[in-house]
């Protein structure tokens, strides 16, 4: 479902934002034991699944225990990266004051460092979502996922490049905040890049050691089997997270914004942009948990620091508010959204269609309440 969103005046957008703020407050007031028990239950499931996977890989023989072990390990990695790591690092559980759930202290089982992720994702991507030139997540700087991005001959290769990125997704995510493209553009010296890359290189080295030396060594004779199991579990996690994340922002109907358009955006307009820059995936409770509730990308972008397990119950309310303001709500099955993304990546590898971002709306100076909050007197 991709109905075109009506263009809202600043006043309309602000009223829209106030309704969403009210919903946000309602959920915050209701946060409690249930949310804590949910995340602890997921952590328990992930840890048990990891233990089961490792036991099967380390002590099992034959293909059945290998498949089961690898699947269990892959499942635990998916849960840890998505519902646990991603969401904790967003600050969704900071209100509990449990140090194990602290956004700034948590580090996930992924080659991307927690600090790099907090910067490139929590701050840059979630603040400047889908603003061309500011959100480095739009095609990650090398894929053309919106017709507004100028076509270059290198985009001809993007179906292959996108497939490779899927296989090695954690490495793409890990290197994202290094801004390697700025080296070629002359905005970063090799020395700066080397300094910036050090935490990533350290963490990646430890991760490689963990998955392909430490755990295989513990398995003695089963070492090759364990190393292969770890590789496949990491690969499964890569493909899954890639698919989920691409479905969140790149299906047909999701729009991008220009810097001019968003220059003096209000909080209400920020909400409108989060809505029109995101897309949801429909599915069962377990699909939502396995995506870390990024299947509710729209709700996640509106309320990135609310416990994600609340998104399913917020979604009908959000959808109702969107309908009243004439805003489209991009949602569909996993197959539909994924095929839409694949089609788009293929189509945009070729030049066209001709589309330039909309002209800037002029907003009277006095109506502007800049995005940065001013304290009430």
């Amino acid at each position: 479902m991709t109905t075109q969103s009506k263009s809202l005046t600043r006043e309309e957008a602000d009223a829209f934002g106030r309704e969403l703020d009210a919903l946000r407050q309602e959920v915050i007031a209701d946060l409690g034991k249930r949310d804590l028990e949910h995340i602890r239950q997921i952590i328990r499931t992930a840890n048990r699944s990891e233990a089961a996977g490792r036991l099967l890989l380390h002590f099992g023989f034959g293909p059945l225990s290998f498949v089961l072990g690898t699947s269990a390990l892959g499942l635990s990695k998916i849960l840890e990266n998505m519902e646990i790591g991603h969401n904790i690092m967003h600050g969704q559980y900071d209100w509990t004051r449990d140090p194990a759930l602290d956004s700034l202290r948590y580090d996930w089982d992924n080659v991307c460092t927690g600090d790099d992720w907090r910067h490139s994702h929590n701050y840059e991507h979630h603040t400047f979502t889908n603003i061309l030139g500011k959100d480095r997540d739009i095609g990650y700087g090398f894929l053309r996922v919106a017709p507004e991005q100028p076509w270059r001959p290198v985009h001809l290769t993007q179906p292959v490049v996108a497939a490779l990125l899927a296989l090695f997704f954690q490495w793409g995510v890990g290197a994202h905040d290094l801004r390697v493209d700025e080296l070629f553009a002359g905005k970063q010296t090799p020395a700066e890049l080397a300094k910036r890359a050090r935490p990533f290189a350290t963490k990646a080295a430890w991760q490689l050691f963990k998955d392909y030396a430490f755990f295989p060594a513990l398995a003695l004779i089963n070492a090759p089997r364990v190393a292969l199991g770890n590789l496949l579990a990491n690969g499964t996690r890569n493909l899954w997270t890639y698919a989920v994340i691409f479905c969140g922002h790149f299906p047909e109907g999701v729009r991008v914004y220009t810097e001019d358009e968003t220059a003096d955006e209000s909080r209400g307009q920020w909400y409108v942009r989060q809505l029109n820059g995101s897309a949801n995936i429909e599915g069962s409770r377990w699909l939502h948990v396995l995506t870390g509730h990024l299947s509710h990308q729209i709700e996640h972008h509106m309320f990135p620091d609310l416990p994600a397990a609340r998104y399913p119950e917020m979604a009908p309310r959000v959808r109702e508010i969107c309908a009243r303001y004439g805003q489209g709500y991009n949602t569909g099955s996993f197959a539909r959204q994924l095929s839409s993304v694949i089609g788009r990546i293929a189509r945009l590898s070729l030049p066209g269609p001709k589309k330039t971002a909309k002209a800037t709306r002029v907003v009277p100076e006095e109506a502007a309440t800049p995005l940065t909050y001013r304290a009430a007197a």
Partner: protein, 366 residues
């Protein structure tokens, strides 16, 4: 030459770095907790083994702490943390049991509106797990026990001096101790029975109870009655603990007779009263505890803007309250969240600088 102990510490810290890098520390902590919820490498946890009703509004929680607990000295307190509706909240309580025992007791009076004390009274049962802090406080018996002692308490302020008395009794060191306790009525005397038994057993202990409901008795601490009951008070090493006004009044008496040097007062008091709120930000002082600098707020603006205006460069990101990069611990003072209007007055709370305005002088962990 490196000593064996240093080598041991070196290996241990190297081991903990490796464990952290391999994400094994988190898993070890998880499985430890799964096997036995009281076990932990990161926290001092204690299992509640008994709950004793002392008076109508006071309960003693007898705890068995895990190996991380390093013991206490008689008179010290510890923080106690509980999860109230999913949120961890912490308060300090004096330890009422004597040192050197496997079990540790805290004695808690239910404070109307007090989140932690109410939670402990209503929800905490035998078998539950509480989290403790390291025992702390200078209100302790000196290593060499003074020959003449006075333990002076009011209400729930009896808890640290009870630990001292129990310690002395256990060491058979009660030579000349006067224990003066103030309470509303006999039924409100915490540890009443045990005090009587100790007084009966130890000739060196004189127990004096000052009860508000006795005929023609003054309420609380009163100088004339007290001087009459303990004429040599100014010559005794004295340990004082009770409600604030009670201690202030007693302290003045010691000042007047020039005996303050012999008076130890429990300085720990629960901070329940929030700092007075100011409506204008102008002139509010923000102390940055870690860098030991202070900033005075100028004009309007969030804490992030105020700090930047003063030349500070605190970590931050989105500036709209969504990315949590500017999260920091507010040690004391009151701030208001400009998005929700919520006011935070409790000490040691995490706040977001970019959406908080100061509403009193502040101390930040920056």
């Amino acid at each position: 030459m490196i000593s064996i102990q240093e080598t041991g510490t070196g290996w241990r810290s190297a081991g903990s770095v490796v464990a952290r890098r391999l994400l094994l520390d988190r898993q070890a902590e998880f499985w430890m907790g799964e096997l036995d919820p009281v076990r932990s490498r990161a926290e001092i946890r204690a299992r509640v083994v008994a709950v004793v009703e002392e008076t109508e509004d006071t309960k003693t929680f007898v705890l068995r702490p895990n190996a991380a607990w390093q013991g206490h000295r008689a008179g010290q307190y510890s923080s106690v943390e509980v999860e109230v509706d999913g949120v961890r909240v912490r308060r300090c309580y004096s330890i009422s049991s004597p040192p050197g025992e496997a079990l540790v007791s805290i004695t808690v009076k239910r404070v109307p509106g007090g989140r932690v004390s109410t939670w402990l009274h209503k929800h905490t049962r035998s078998g539950d797990i509480l989290r403790l802090g390291t025992a702390a406080g200078d209100f302790v018996l000196p290593a060499a026990t003074p020959t003449k002692l006075l333990l002076l308490s009011g209400g729930s302020g009896i808890t640290p001096v009870m630990s001292m008395l129990r310690d002395l009794a256990a060491r058979d060191a009660i030579h000349d101790v006067v224990f003066v306790h103030h309470a509303r009525s006999r039924a409100n005397v915490i540890f009443g029975e045990e005090l009587s038994e100790l007084a009966a057993r130890h000739a060196g202990l004189r127990l004096v109870l000052c009860l508000d409901d006795e005929p023609s008795a003054p309420r609380g601490f009163e100088e004339a009655r007290f001087a009459n009951l303990v004429p040599d008070f100014a010559k005794r090493s004295t340990f004082l603990c009770g409600p604030g006004p009670f201690m202030d009044r007693a302290e003045r008496l010691w000042e007047n007779v020039g005996a303050s040097a012999l008076l130890e007062r429990e300085s720990f008091a629960p901070t329940t009263a929030p700092a007075r709120m100011v409506s204008s930000v102008e002139g509010v002082r923000v102390r940055l505890a870690r860098s030991d600098r202070a900033v005075a707020a100028k004009g309007q603006g969030t804490l992030l803007e105020q700090l930047e205006r003063a030349g500070e460069r605190p970590a931050h990101g989105c500036r709209i309250g969504i990315c949590h990069s500017c999260k920091c611990r507010k040690q004391t003072g009151t701030v208001q969240n400009v998005v929700t209007g919520e006011v935070s007055s409790e000490p040691d709370q995490e706040i977001q600088l970019c959406i908080s305005v100061p509403r009193s002088d502040l101390e930040l962990d920056l």
